[in-house]
Protein backbone atom coordinates (compact mmCIF):
# COMPACT_ATOMS: atom_id res chain seq x y z
CA UNK A 1 0.00 0.00 0.00
CA UNK A 2 2.64 2.46 1.04
CA UNK A 3 4.71 1.59 -1.99
CA UNK A 4 1.69 2.31 -4.23
CA UNK A 5 1.32 5.63 -2.50
CA UNK A 6 5.00 6.30 -3.00
CA UNK A 7 4.70 5.55 -6.71
CA UNK A 8 1.80 7.94 -7.13
CA UNK A 9 3.60 10.61 -5.17
CA UNK A 10 6.79 10.09 -7.15
CA UNK A 11 5.09 10.51 -10.49
CA UNK A 12 3.57 13.77 -9.31
CA UNK A 13 6.95 15.02 -8.20
CA UNK A 14 8.64 14.44 -11.53
CA UNK A 15 9.63 17.57 -13.34
CA UNK A 16 7.62 18.52 -16.42
CA UNK A 17 8.65 20.59 -19.42
CA UNK A 18 8.66 24.22 -18.38
CA UNK A 19 6.01 25.94 -20.54
CA UNK A 20 8.14 29.03 -20.73
CA UNK A 21 11.04 27.12 -22.19
CA UNK A 22 8.73 25.24 -24.55
CA UNK A 23 6.97 28.26 -26.08
CA UNK A 24 10.09 30.42 -26.29
CA UNK A 25 11.82 27.57 -28.10
CA UNK A 26 8.87 27.25 -30.47
CA UNK A 27 9.02 30.99 -31.13
CA UNK A 28 12.72 30.74 -32.03
CA UNK A 29 12.03 27.75 -34.26
CA UNK A 30 9.12 29.60 -35.88
CA UNK A 31 11.47 32.44 -36.81
CA UNK A 32 13.99 30.00 -38.29
CA UNK A 33 11.17 28.34 -40.26
CA UNK A 34 10.00 31.69 -41.69
CA UNK A 35 13.59 32.40 -42.73
CA UNK A 36 13.85 28.84 -44.10
CA UNK A 37 17.20 28.20 -42.42
CA UNK A 38 18.82 24.81 -41.84
CA UNK A 39 18.41 25.30 -38.11
CA UNK A 40 14.65 24.81 -38.10
CA UNK A 41 14.51 21.06 -38.88
CA UNK A 42 17.31 20.34 -36.39
CA UNK A 43 15.63 22.30 -33.65
CA UNK A 44 12.26 20.65 -34.28
CA UNK A 45 14.01 17.28 -33.93
CA UNK A 46 15.63 18.29 -30.64
CA UNK A 47 12.33 19.54 -29.29
CA UNK A 48 10.48 16.38 -30.37
CA UNK A 49 13.08 14.18 -28.71
CA UNK A 50 12.81 16.23 -25.56
CA UNK A 51 9.04 16.04 -25.44
CA UNK A 52 8.96 12.34 -26.21
CA UNK A 53 11.36 11.72 -23.38
CA UNK A 54 9.39 13.67 -20.81
CA UNK A 55 5.99 12.40 -21.99
CA UNK A 56 6.83 8.72 -22.43
CA UNK A 57 10.31 7.32 -21.64
CA UNK A 58 10.70 9.22 -18.40
CA UNK A 59 7.46 7.74 -17.11
CA UNK A 60 9.51 4.64 -16.22
CA UNK A 61 10.94 4.32 -12.77
CA UNK A 62 14.48 4.05 -14.13
CA UNK A 63 16.16 4.91 -17.41
CA UNK A 64 19.70 4.36 -18.67
CA UNK A 65 22.25 7.09 -18.05
CA UNK A 66 22.69 7.40 -21.81
CA UNK A 67 19.03 8.36 -22.22
CA UNK A 68 19.15 10.89 -19.42
CA UNK A 69 22.34 12.44 -20.75
CA UNK A 70 21.01 12.80 -24.30
CA UNK A 71 17.98 14.54 -22.82
CA UNK A 72 20.23 16.98 -20.98
CA UNK A 73 22.28 17.60 -24.14
CA UNK A 74 19.15 18.23 -26.20
CA UNK A 75 17.91 20.65 -23.59
CA UNK A 76 21.21 22.55 -23.63
CA UNK A 77 21.17 22.71 -27.46
CA UNK A 78 17.74 24.31 -27.44
CA UNK A 79 18.70 26.74 -24.71
CA UNK A 80 21.67 27.83 -26.83
CA UNK A 81 19.28 28.58 -29.71
CA UNK A 82 17.25 30.87 -27.46
CA UNK A 83 19.96 32.70 -25.62
CA UNK A 84 22.05 35.74 -26.41
CA UNK A 85 25.70 35.01 -27.16
CA UNK A 86 26.79 36.40 -23.83
CA UNK A 87 26.24 33.08 -22.10
CA UNK A 88 29.15 30.64 -22.05
CA UNK A 89 28.24 27.12 -21.22
CA UNK A 90 30.61 24.32 -20.31
CA UNK A 91 29.33 20.80 -19.96
CA UNK A 92 32.04 18.47 -18.77
CA UNK A 93 30.98 14.87 -19.03
CA UNK A 94 32.67 11.61 -18.22
CA UNK A 95 30.74 8.38 -17.81
CA UNK A 96 32.35 4.95 -17.61
CA UNK A 97 29.16 3.04 -18.36
CA UNK A 98 26.08 4.49 -20.03
CA UNK A 99 24.03 1.37 -19.36
CA UNK A 100 23.80 2.11 -15.65
CA UNK A 101 20.24 2.88 -14.58
CA UNK A 102 19.15 6.10 -12.92
CA UNK A 103 15.80 7.62 -11.89
CA UNK A 104 14.86 10.03 -14.72
CA UNK A 105 14.74 13.83 -14.59
CA UNK A 106 16.62 14.21 -11.32
CA UNK A 107 19.41 16.38 -12.69
CA UNK A 108 17.48 18.61 -15.07
CA UNK A 109 15.84 20.89 -12.47
CA UNK A 110 19.29 22.13 -11.40
CA UNK A 111 20.24 22.81 -15.01
CA UNK A 112 16.92 24.58 -15.64
CA UNK A 113 17.67 26.79 -12.65
CA UNK A 114 21.10 27.64 -13.98
CA UNK A 115 19.51 28.86 -17.21
CA UNK A 116 16.77 30.68 -15.39
CA UNK A 117 19.01 32.67 -13.09
CA UNK A 118 22.46 32.47 -14.59
CA UNK A 119 21.74 34.33 -17.80
CA UNK A 120 22.07 38.06 -18.25
CA UNK A 121 21.17 40.35 -21.12
CA UNK A 122 23.98 42.78 -20.37
CA UNK A 123 27.02 40.96 -18.98
CA UNK A 124 28.95 37.87 -20.03
CA UNK A 125 28.06 34.90 -17.89
CA UNK A 126 29.28 31.36 -17.37
CA UNK A 127 27.35 28.25 -16.58
CA UNK A 128 29.48 25.25 -15.63
CA UNK A 129 28.03 21.77 -15.46
CA UNK A 130 30.05 18.70 -14.58
CA UNK A 131 28.83 15.11 -14.54
CA UNK A 132 31.03 12.16 -13.59
CA UNK A 133 29.95 8.56 -13.20
CA UNK A 134 32.46 5.96 -12.11
CA UNK A 135 31.63 2.49 -10.85
CA UNK A 136 28.02 3.43 -10.15
CA UNK A 137 28.98 6.51 -8.21
CA UNK A 138 27.55 9.71 -9.72
CA UNK A 139 28.86 13.16 -8.92
CA UNK A 140 27.16 16.18 -10.42
CA UNK A 141 28.00 19.87 -10.10
CA UNK A 142 26.36 23.02 -11.38
CA UNK A 143 27.87 26.49 -10.98
CA UNK A 144 26.20 29.67 -12.14
CA UNK A 145 25.89 33.34 -11.36
CA UNK A 146 22.64 34.98 -10.34
CA UNK A 147 21.37 37.82 -12.49
CA UNK A 148 17.81 38.31 -11.61
CA UNK A 149 15.44 40.01 -9.27
CA UNK A 150 12.61 37.73 -10.16
CA UNK A 151 10.82 36.05 -7.34
CA UNK A 152 11.65 32.38 -7.56
CA UNK A 153 8.46 31.40 -9.34
CA UNK A 154 8.03 27.69 -9.23
CA UNK A 155 11.73 27.09 -8.79
CA UNK A 156 11.61 26.34 -5.11
CA UNK A 157 8.85 23.78 -5.55
CA UNK A 158 10.93 22.20 -8.32
CA UNK A 159 13.87 21.84 -5.94
CA UNK A 160 11.69 20.58 -3.11
CA UNK A 161 10.30 17.93 -5.45
CA UNK A 162 13.79 16.76 -6.38
CA UNK A 163 14.75 16.55 -2.70
CA UNK A 164 11.64 14.47 -1.97
CA UNK A 165 12.34 12.17 -4.91
CA UNK A 166 15.95 11.70 -3.84
CA UNK A 167 14.81 10.81 -0.33
CA UNK A 168 12.28 8.28 -1.64
CA UNK A 169 14.42 6.65 -4.36
CA UNK A 170 17.95 6.88 -2.95
CA UNK A 171 17.48 6.99 0.83
CA UNK A 172 20.86 7.15 2.59
CA UNK A 173 22.60 6.88 -0.80
CA UNK A 174 22.79 10.48 -1.82
CA UNK A 175 24.22 13.76 -0.67
CA UNK A 176 22.90 17.10 -1.92
CA UNK A 177 24.55 20.41 -1.07
CA UNK A 178 23.26 23.72 -2.32
CA UNK A 179 25.27 26.81 -1.69
CA UNK A 180 23.21 29.87 -2.53
CA UNK A 181 25.11 33.17 -2.26
CA UNK A 182 23.96 36.63 -3.28
CA UNK A 183 25.31 36.33 -6.78
CA UNK A 184 26.36 32.74 -7.21
CA UNK A 185 24.73 29.37 -7.00
CA UNK A 186 26.45 26.04 -6.47
CA UNK A 187 24.95 22.58 -6.48
CA UNK A 188 26.86 19.43 -5.53
CA UNK A 189 25.02 16.17 -5.75
CA UNK A 190 26.43 12.69 -5.34
CA UNK A 191 24.45 9.45 -5.63
CA UNK A 192 25.34 5.81 -5.30
CA UNK A 193 23.25 4.43 -8.14
Amino acid sequence: MSSEKNKAELSLLKSQIDPHFLFNSLNSIYYEAIEKTDLAPKAIMSLSNLMRYVLTDAKSEYVSLDQEISYIQGYIELQKLRLPHKTHLNFDLSVDNGEVMIAPLLLIPFIENAFKYGVSSSSDTEINIKLRVEKNHLSFQVRNGIFTNKEADGTQSGLDNVKKRLALIYPGKHDLRINHETNSYQVDLSINL
Partner: protein, 237 residues
Protein backbone atom coordinates in the same frame (compact mmCIF):
# COMPACT_ATOMS: atom_id res chain seq x y z
CA UNK B 1 10.31 58.88 -47.75
CA UNK B 2 7.19 60.50 -46.35
CA UNK B 3 4.20 58.48 -45.28
CA UNK B 4 0.90 59.99 -44.44
CA UNK B 5 0.33 57.78 -41.45
CA UNK B 6 3.58 56.75 -39.97
CA UNK B 7 3.78 54.91 -36.69
CA UNK B 8 7.00 54.38 -34.79
CA UNK B 9 7.86 51.49 -32.50
CA UNK B 10 10.65 49.79 -30.59
CA UNK B 11 11.03 46.12 -29.59
CA UNK B 12 12.51 44.65 -26.42
CA UNK B 13 13.30 40.98 -25.88
CA UNK B 14 16.30 39.20 -24.40
CA UNK B 15 16.10 36.44 -27.02
CA UNK B 16 17.74 37.41 -30.32
CA UNK B 17 15.40 35.35 -32.53
CA UNK B 18 12.31 36.76 -30.89
CA UNK B 19 13.56 40.24 -31.83
CA UNK B 20 14.39 39.21 -35.37
CA UNK B 21 10.88 37.86 -35.79
CA UNK B 22 9.43 41.24 -34.80
CA UNK B 23 11.89 42.97 -37.16
CA UNK B 24 10.78 40.80 -40.07
CA UNK B 25 7.10 41.46 -39.28
CA UNK B 26 7.73 45.22 -39.11
CA UNK B 27 9.40 45.05 -42.53
CA UNK B 28 6.10 43.92 -44.00
CA UNK B 29 4.12 46.89 -42.69
CA UNK B 30 5.37 50.01 -44.48
CA UNK B 31 3.54 52.40 -42.17
CA UNK B 32 5.23 50.90 -39.09
CA UNK B 33 8.76 52.13 -38.51
CA UNK B 34 10.92 50.12 -36.13
CA UNK B 35 13.26 52.69 -34.61
CA UNK B 36 15.33 50.41 -32.40
CA UNK B 37 15.35 46.91 -30.98
CA UNK B 38 16.90 46.04 -27.63
CA UNK B 39 18.24 42.82 -26.14
CA UNK B 40 18.78 44.61 -22.91
CA UNK B 41 15.80 46.09 -21.04
CA UNK B 42 18.00 48.50 -19.13
CA UNK B 43 19.29 50.08 -22.34
CA UNK B 44 15.72 50.28 -23.58
CA UNK B 45 14.70 52.04 -20.39
CA UNK B 46 17.28 54.77 -20.81
CA UNK B 47 16.31 55.16 -24.46
CA UNK B 48 12.69 55.64 -23.41
CA UNK B 49 13.65 58.44 -21.04
CA UNK B 50 14.50 60.61 -24.04
CA UNK B 51 12.37 59.13 -26.81
CA UNK B 52 8.70 58.38 -27.13
CA UNK B 53 7.80 55.92 -29.88
CA UNK B 54 4.11 55.28 -30.57
CA UNK B 55 4.26 51.57 -29.75
CA UNK B 56 6.52 49.35 -27.69
CA UNK B 57 6.70 45.57 -28.14
CA UNK B 58 8.04 44.09 -24.95
CA UNK B 59 8.72 40.62 -23.58
CA UNK B 60 7.60 40.13 -20.00
CA UNK B 61 10.02 37.57 -18.69
CA UNK B 62 13.59 38.81 -19.05
CA UNK B 63 16.60 38.42 -16.80
CA UNK B 64 17.28 41.28 -14.39
CA UNK B 65 14.29 43.39 -15.33
CA UNK B 66 10.80 42.23 -16.24
CA UNK B 67 8.80 43.92 -18.97
CA UNK B 68 6.09 44.73 -16.46
CA UNK B 69 8.56 46.47 -14.14
CA UNK B 70 9.94 48.47 -17.03
CA UNK B 71 6.50 49.70 -18.09
CA UNK B 72 5.53 50.53 -14.51
CA UNK B 73 8.61 52.71 -14.18
CA UNK B 74 8.01 54.75 -17.32
CA UNK B 75 6.81 58.30 -16.86
CA UNK B 76 5.57 58.71 -20.41
CA UNK B 77 4.09 55.49 -21.71
CA UNK B 78 3.88 54.51 -25.36
CA UNK B 79 1.14 52.05 -26.33
CA UNK B 80 2.25 48.72 -24.93
CA UNK B 81 2.01 45.35 -26.67
CA UNK B 82 3.34 42.57 -24.47
CA UNK B 83 4.89 39.49 -26.05
CA UNK B 84 5.37 36.46 -23.87
CA UNK B 85 5.57 32.70 -23.87
CA UNK B 86 3.54 32.41 -20.77
CA UNK B 87 -0.01 33.41 -20.10
CA UNK B 88 0.01 33.85 -16.36
CA UNK B 89 0.74 37.57 -16.60
CA UNK B 90 -2.17 38.48 -18.87
CA UNK B 91 -4.28 39.88 -16.08
CA UNK B 92 -1.53 42.05 -14.71
CA UNK B 93 -0.64 43.31 -18.17
CA UNK B 94 -4.20 44.46 -18.78
CA UNK B 95 -4.15 46.35 -15.52
CA UNK B 96 -1.22 48.23 -17.05
CA UNK B 97 -3.54 49.11 -19.91
CA UNK B 98 -1.67 47.14 -22.51
CA UNK B 99 -3.15 47.39 -25.98
CA UNK B 100 -2.62 43.72 -26.65
CA UNK B 101 -0.89 40.62 -25.45
CA UNK B 102 0.86 38.32 -27.95
CA UNK B 103 1.46 34.74 -26.90
CA UNK B 104 4.57 33.19 -28.42
CA UNK B 105 4.76 31.83 -30.98
CA UNK B 106 2.51 34.26 -32.85
CA UNK B 107 2.12 34.53 -36.63
CA UNK B 108 2.14 37.64 -38.77
CA UNK B 109 -1.68 37.93 -38.90
CA UNK B 110 -1.87 38.01 -35.13
CA UNK B 111 0.92 40.60 -34.98
CA UNK B 112 -0.84 42.71 -37.60
CA UNK B 113 -4.07 42.56 -35.62
CA UNK B 114 -2.28 43.97 -32.58
CA UNK B 115 -0.79 46.76 -34.71
CA UNK B 116 -4.26 47.60 -36.08
CA UNK B 117 -5.59 47.84 -32.51
CA UNK B 118 -2.79 50.23 -31.68
CA UNK B 119 -3.46 52.28 -34.83
CA UNK B 120 -7.09 52.61 -33.88
CA UNK B 121 -6.14 53.77 -30.41
CA UNK B 122 -3.65 56.27 -31.83
CA UNK B 123 -6.21 57.78 -34.18
CA UNK B 124 -8.69 58.08 -31.29
CA UNK B 125 -6.34 59.73 -28.86
CA UNK B 126 -3.90 61.43 -31.17
CA UNK B 127 -3.82 65.16 -30.77
CA UNK B 128 -1.10 65.15 -33.37
CA UNK B 129 -2.67 65.86 -36.69
CA UNK B 130 -1.42 63.35 -39.16
CA UNK B 131 0.16 65.19 -42.05
CA UNK B 132 -1.86 64.45 -45.14
CA UNK B 133 -1.73 65.49 -48.71
CA UNK B 134 -2.80 69.13 -48.66
CA UNK B 135 -6.49 69.47 -49.19
CA UNK B 136 -6.08 71.09 -52.54
CA UNK B 137 -4.06 68.19 -53.90
CA UNK B 138 -6.12 66.21 -56.31
CA UNK B 139 -6.08 64.82 -59.78
CA UNK B 140 -8.59 65.82 -62.43
CA UNK B 141 -9.97 63.03 -64.59
CA UNK B 142 -12.67 62.63 -67.19
CA UNK B 143 -15.36 60.05 -66.68
CA UNK B 144 -18.14 59.85 -69.28
CA UNK B 145 -17.03 63.22 -70.80
CA UNK B 146 -17.35 64.94 -67.39
CA UNK B 147 -14.28 66.22 -65.58
CA UNK B 148 -14.04 65.84 -61.86
CA UNK B 149 -11.47 65.83 -59.12
CA UNK B 150 -10.30 62.90 -57.05
CA UNK B 151 -8.40 63.83 -53.88
CA UNK B 152 -4.99 62.21 -53.74
CA UNK B 153 -5.47 61.30 -50.09
CA UNK B 154 -8.53 59.21 -51.02
CA UNK B 155 -6.78 57.05 -53.63
CA UNK B 156 -5.79 53.57 -52.46
CA UNK B 157 -4.50 52.05 -55.71
CA UNK B 158 -4.77 52.10 -59.51
CA UNK B 159 -5.20 49.20 -61.90
CA UNK B 160 -4.66 49.19 -65.67
CA UNK B 161 -7.34 47.43 -67.69
CA UNK B 162 -6.97 47.43 -71.49
CA UNK B 163 -7.17 51.12 -72.50
CA UNK B 164 -8.64 52.16 -69.15
CA UNK B 165 -7.39 52.79 -65.65
CA UNK B 166 -9.41 51.92 -62.57
CA UNK B 167 -8.75 54.43 -59.80
CA UNK B 168 -9.77 52.93 -56.47
CA UNK B 169 -10.65 55.07 -53.46
CA UNK B 170 -11.75 53.77 -50.08
CA UNK B 171 -15.34 53.22 -51.22
CA UNK B 172 -15.42 53.85 -54.97
CA UNK B 173 -13.83 52.88 -58.23
CA UNK B 174 -13.54 55.37 -61.09
CA UNK B 175 -12.91 54.05 -64.59
CA UNK B 176 -10.96 56.49 -66.75
CA UNK B 177 -10.02 56.24 -70.41
CA UNK B 178 -6.26 56.81 -70.04
CA UNK B 179 -3.05 54.87 -69.75
CA UNK B 180 -1.72 53.96 -66.32
CA UNK B 181 1.57 55.60 -67.24
CA UNK B 182 -0.02 58.97 -67.98
CA UNK B 183 -1.93 59.01 -64.67
CA UNK B 184 1.18 57.94 -62.75
CA UNK B 185 3.09 60.91 -64.19
CA UNK B 186 0.61 63.24 -62.49
CA UNK B 187 0.97 61.63 -59.08
CA UNK B 188 3.64 62.56 -56.50
CA UNK B 189 6.34 59.92 -56.78
CA UNK B 190 6.96 59.79 -53.02
CA UNK B 191 3.36 58.73 -52.34
CA UNK B 192 2.49 56.52 -55.32
CA UNK B 193 4.61 53.70 -56.60
CA UNK B 194 4.31 51.23 -59.43
CA UNK B 195 4.55 47.64 -58.16
CA UNK B 196 3.43 45.73 -61.24
CA UNK B 197 2.95 46.52 -64.92
CA UNK B 198 -0.77 46.94 -64.20
CA UNK B 199 -0.74 48.30 -60.64
CA UNK B 200 0.23 51.47 -58.78
CA UNK B 201 -0.33 51.73 -55.01
CA UNK B 202 -0.58 54.59 -52.51
CA UNK B 203 2.22 53.86 -50.05
CA UNK B 204 0.34 55.16 -47.03
CA UNK B 205 -2.62 52.90 -47.72
CA UNK B 206 -0.70 49.60 -47.66
CA UNK B 207 -1.84 47.43 -44.79
CA UNK B 208 0.89 44.89 -45.26
CA UNK B 209 3.17 43.11 -47.67
CA UNK B 210 3.65 39.36 -47.66
CA UNK B 211 4.74 36.69 -50.14
CA UNK B 212 5.05 39.24 -52.99
CA UNK B 213 1.52 40.49 -52.42
CA UNK B 214 0.33 43.80 -51.02
CA UNK B 215 -2.85 43.97 -48.98
CA UNK B 216 -4.92 47.17 -48.98
CA UNK B 217 -8.19 46.72 -47.11
CA UNK B 218 -9.88 43.75 -48.77
CA UNK B 219 -7.83 43.91 -51.97
CA UNK B 220 -4.70 41.97 -52.79
CA UNK B 221 -2.25 43.51 -55.24
CA UNK B 222 0.52 41.44 -56.83
CA UNK B 223 4.07 42.79 -56.86
CA UNK B 224 5.70 42.02 -60.19
CA UNK B 225 9.11 40.36 -60.24
CA UNK B 226 10.71 43.32 -61.97
CA UNK B 227 9.51 45.67 -59.20
CA UNK B 228 10.07 43.38 -56.22
CA UNK B 229 13.60 44.37 -55.19
CA UNK B 230 13.01 48.07 -55.57
CA UNK B 231 9.82 47.79 -53.54
CA UNK B 232 11.55 45.79 -50.77
CA UNK B 233 14.32 48.39 -50.55
CA UNK B 234 11.71 51.09 -50.25
CA UNK B 235 10.01 49.29 -47.35
CA UNK B 236 13.32 49.00 -45.53
CA UNK B 237 13.65 52.77 -45.85
Amino acid sequence: MTYNTRITCIAIDDEPRALRLIESYCDRIPSLILLESFNNPIEAYSYLKNNLPDIIFIDINMPEFSGIQLIKNLEKKPLVIFTTAYSKYAVESYSLEAIDYLLKPYDFERFHQAVQKAKKQLSLTSSKTIPRAADGESITVKVDYKSFKIKLQDITYLEAMDNYVKIFTVNKCHIVLRSLKSVLEELPSDQFIQVHKSFVVALSKIDYFMNSRITIGHSEIPVGRVYLNKFRDLLKG
